[in-house]
Symmetry: C2
Subunit: 337 residues, 2 copies
């Protein structure tokens, strides 16, 4: 296996378990697949490339496992629900098997059989929703999200309250998405992020993913929203310091202008992903943000993106492996992001 | 009024309310005090000096209001419970009217009449308990603790769980203090601090007092304790980034050595307060702290202190006002800490 051009160990227990499970399902269902028995004997070469940073709290393992499970299911001709298998690789990978807005149901059964992902709305439902991923420069080492969550379950008293709170919030969030009610969507998103990180802090020993820069982004977002009179932007933080900002397409120019003011960068590729509208008629009155300092080089770069579709098999021109079964681009040394 | 040599406005509503209440109690009780009526007509000159930083989350307002209320009660000859008055100035000032280990009871009555402080043990009870106050260099502006707490009460859902949790913890803490059980005392102290700041983060908009340096101190303390096999040191954070570390006297040399390793400073007055034992036979194996970076100048200084006695009237040689009623040292310009 190669990940971003670098050869990887296949020894990971989770990786082995995911591969074994897909093969097992094949055998069990006696799939009507061409040369199934032969295929099951094949040795696999797996090549994976991210266009975003790995292991930085940007859900790269969710994307990776969703992609792997999807690709293997296509190879072996496995139909039906593969989200349970993906979930074994990385919990949130089950969500990444669907496009658009996806809910991961906790389920009721003890063996987790009914803990599955479900699409609330496809990505076409809210076409003007945009995401700005703020990749923070100082990626200090942090607790992995799986280990962190297990410790939280064992030690956080506040988690008991959160368990009571979440079902209502999920329902409110579903409605906000279906109604495309940005203000409410933004408020729930921010409160959810804050509460998740509050529980991390209540864990013993405490787990902290947010840095001074993360907190600066939080303050900036609240300042923008207060200045605007309603929510123009929302933040969410996963198991790392990077921010996911949600914005409506019409507000991307003003929000990106404010971000570039507070986090100036000399990198010509500072803004990546979808094109940023180059509007010059937005005037921002920075006196309303007087409490906030400008922090040069706080961010490595910003990725401009939007909710995407489910995994799909790409055209053959996009294959990552050459005909000899080895990566087309083998950049062990210099292609690390 | 002068605070640390600088003339202050007396317009603060809380300050005026505290002064008015003491005078009212005097009149109501018809205190048998020499020249009471004359004294009540006096104009007051108040001079206050701190030996620690003001408005940095080090409970300077609690100390200040406790001192003011105590001094005025002596002036007017008010006996009995003055903690209720002190509490109006700064909630935790009611605790500062007693020495040693003090519990602030929340009380049950709606008007807060029975929300009073109570001494659990005098400072002589645990004579080898020491406190290291780590004053962090970057004192970024933060939300005042009173405003922050009010917003938490209004918006934090997790606070509901904390309200359930606190009474048990208070009882456990009381027992740990009475038994001088340092390991348990340390664990409850750290969990309490973490939970308080978790609730701050669950507030909307979130309130954050801890900085990257605070979190580094937290990680360092857990690393020391893990290395030691039981709790050698505990942290607690108030409404600011500074850490209060609790240590037993015998462990001060090793803990201060580790602190000076991770937070090196060239300030000859870096270690202040009680003398630091200069033991050279402690060898610390820093390889066990391999995940933690050394951060020069992270701390402004460290104050070495211990639980103190209640307020007292000092000898006349220590008066802060000269015979003309003005501060002996009037250092408006250069005496700010």
């Amino acid at each position: 296996m190669w990940l971003n051009g670098r050869e990887q160990s296949m020894k990971s227990e989770r990786l082995q378990s995911v591969i074994a499970q897909i093969k097992r399902i094949c055998r069990k269902r006696k799939m009507d697949c061409d040369q199934l028995e032969e295929k099951l004997q094949w040795k696999l070469h797996i090549c994976s490339e991210n266009n975003f940073p790995t292991a930085a709290g940007l859900a790269s393992s969710a994307a990776g496992y969703a992609c792997l499970v999807y690709a293997m299911s296509k190879l072996y001709g496995v139909d039906g629900d593969i989200s349970k298998i993906a979930r074994q690789g990385s919990g949130s990978a089950c969500r990444s098997l669907y496009g658009g807005f996806v809910l991961w149901n906790k389920g009721e059964s003890v063996d987790g059989e009914d803990s599955r992902a479900e699409q609330i709305a496809p990505e076409t439902h809210w076409p003007d929703l945009r995401i700005l991923i703020l990749v923070v420069s100082d990626q200090t080492k942090h607790t992995g999200s799986t280990v962190g969550m297990q410790t939280s379950v064992e030690t956080s008293e506040l988690l008991q309250q959160r368990i009571q709170t979440v079902p209502d919030r999920v329902e409110q969030m579903k409605q906000a998405i279906l109604k495309k009610d940005f203000h409410t969507f933004a408020e729930i998103t921010m409160k959810e992020s804050n509460q998740l990180h509050a529980v991390c802090l209540d864990t013993y020993p405490p787990v902290s993913y947010l840095t001074d820069i993360s907190h600066h982004i939080i303050q900036l977002v609240h300042a923008i929203n207060q200045d605007n009179g309603s929510n123009m932007v929302a933040y969410s933080f996963d198991a790392g310091p990077n921010a996911f900002l949600f914005v409506q397409e019409k507000d991307v120019p003003i929000v990106s202008r404010v971000l570039c003011h507070f986090y100036p960068s000399s990198d010509p590729h500072f803004l990546r992903g979808l094109p940023m509208p180059e509007k010059t008629d937005y005037q921002v009155d920075y006196t309303t943000f007087s409490e906030l300092k400008v922090i040069p080089k706080a961010l490595k770069f910003i990725i401009h993106t939007k909710p995407g579709p489910e995994p799909s098999v790409k055209e053959s021109c996009c294959e990552l492996l050459a005909s000899d079964g080895f990566p087309k681009v083998n950049s062990n040394d210099d292609k690390q992001s």
